[in-house]
Symmetry: C2
Subunit: 251 residues, 2 copies
């Protein structure tokens, strides 16, 4: 393609009604909804590339994707036009023209995911937006256990056991905070990148620790074992949010 | 029915996926979901009576209904049992045995409804839970106009024009507050009772005033006219919450 333009788009979505980010047969996907709208507007087939996938029912506040077009688009008009055609649970936050070398996946240098859990189990309004647990969790101990994960490790124990064995499983977590917010607990993960299910598996592991069902030593052993069957815990998807993707040229 | 017991149940619901409170053909309803679960549990046909109806997509934090049964139920066990069978967007808050004379509709002495509107139009998570408007609203002027409605009036101008003309349309509003909460505005209505669409019609009228599209004098004229065609404004249902129903014997 000669003389094309590349665009970086930041979006939020409520993942409740989707089978996940990635286009796939027999279920709707966020990728497909967006490609469909872009293709219609640009009158050409458009393929979009995200910073990474999110699973079914997982939400995003700041997912990023890029796409190419022969057309030169005015950024703010394009945001409005896209939002007028997209489903109401997918909202464009910004559209920016970027250098043709920009890549939403390869250029991402840091991601933030938040995981939310509440003990407000009789609240019907958080059903799709948080995990629920009646138990009082020991937040201080959860933080102590969270510190085990800070650093650069092989996270084989905390990802899908169906993951391609050739895929690198060494990741760096630079921050993992466990914060009490009223009746909710927020776990904030910042790192270079995360393997499939990694945030949800670590989250549920910390929740188990908060219930005195796992010790810090056991968690350390799980991480050290690099055994794809070591961790059987995985928090439900509706508590997970892709909050932010940082790129090398971002301030 | 001899020797029966009457129960008062307080529930919250996310109205997004329902055609409203009331049982009706061709749509699902909150009443039907609850009656179905109660009938199954009690092995008898159960009819429930609410404090009042809510329309399609309208939410409740503290709706109240009563029902009768020959069986004596343990209050907290019943809450748990009901919540285990009800859809996750309908949650029982409490079950209480009450005197056989208690009536969820006739004994209600006061209701509180809140209406929520936001200017955070690109937020996909509030789609079903607030009205959205890009305009900056003049909250002080909205409150000034809201004061017009405080007192006892014939609210013919602020209800469905299909309402039964024999139905009394005099209601008392004891409190109507317009409160700024970050990017949202909350309108708090407290009164003896509200006619169909009354809260949504007054809410949109105040929103129009907040945009300088209606004056306090015009609103006063609308109220005074007692004309069922006077008000053409009605805010969307997803911003409306039945917050609380107070009964004469409540503290």
């Amino acid at each position: 393609m000669c003389g094309y333009y590349r665009y970086k788009v930041t979006i939020s979505y409520d993942g409740t009604n989707y089978g996940g980010w990635q286009k796939q047969p027999n279920t709707n996907s966020i990728q497909e909804e967006i490609e469909c709208v872009l293709s219609k507007m640009l009158k050409e087939d458009v393929i979009i590339t995200a910073s990474g996938r999110t699973d079914a029912k997982v939400h995003a506040l700041g997912q990023v994707f890029h796409f190419d077009s022969n057309k030169q688009l005015e950024e703010n008009n394009w945001k409005k036009a896209l939002n007028s055609l997209l489903p109401r649970d997918i909202r464009v936050q910004s559209v920016k023209a970027v250098h043709q070398d920009f890549h939403a996946r390869f250029d991402a240098v840091e991601k933030r995911y938040d995981y939310l859990i509440t003990d407000d189990v009789d609240n019907p309004f958080v059903e799709n937006y948080m995990a629920k647990d009646t138990k009082q969790l020991d937040v201080a101990y959860m933080q102590e256990c969270a510190n085990v994960f800070i650093g650069t490790y092989d996270f084989t124990s905390f990802t899908s056991n169906k993951i391609d064995p050739r895929k690198p499983r060494v990741k760096t977590i630079s921050k993992l905070e466990v914060v009490k917010e009223g009746r909710n607990i927020r776990m904030i993960f910042v790192g270079t990148g995360f393997l499939r299910y990694m945030v949800r598996m670590i989250s549920q592991t910390l929740i188990e620790a908060g219930k005195q069902r796992l010790t810090k030593e056991e968690i350390k052993d799980m991480l050290d074992s690099k055994d794809k069957h070591a961790c059987r815990h995985k928090a439900p998807p509706q508590g997970l949010y892709l909050v932010h993707v940082r790129y090398k040229d971002d301030k």
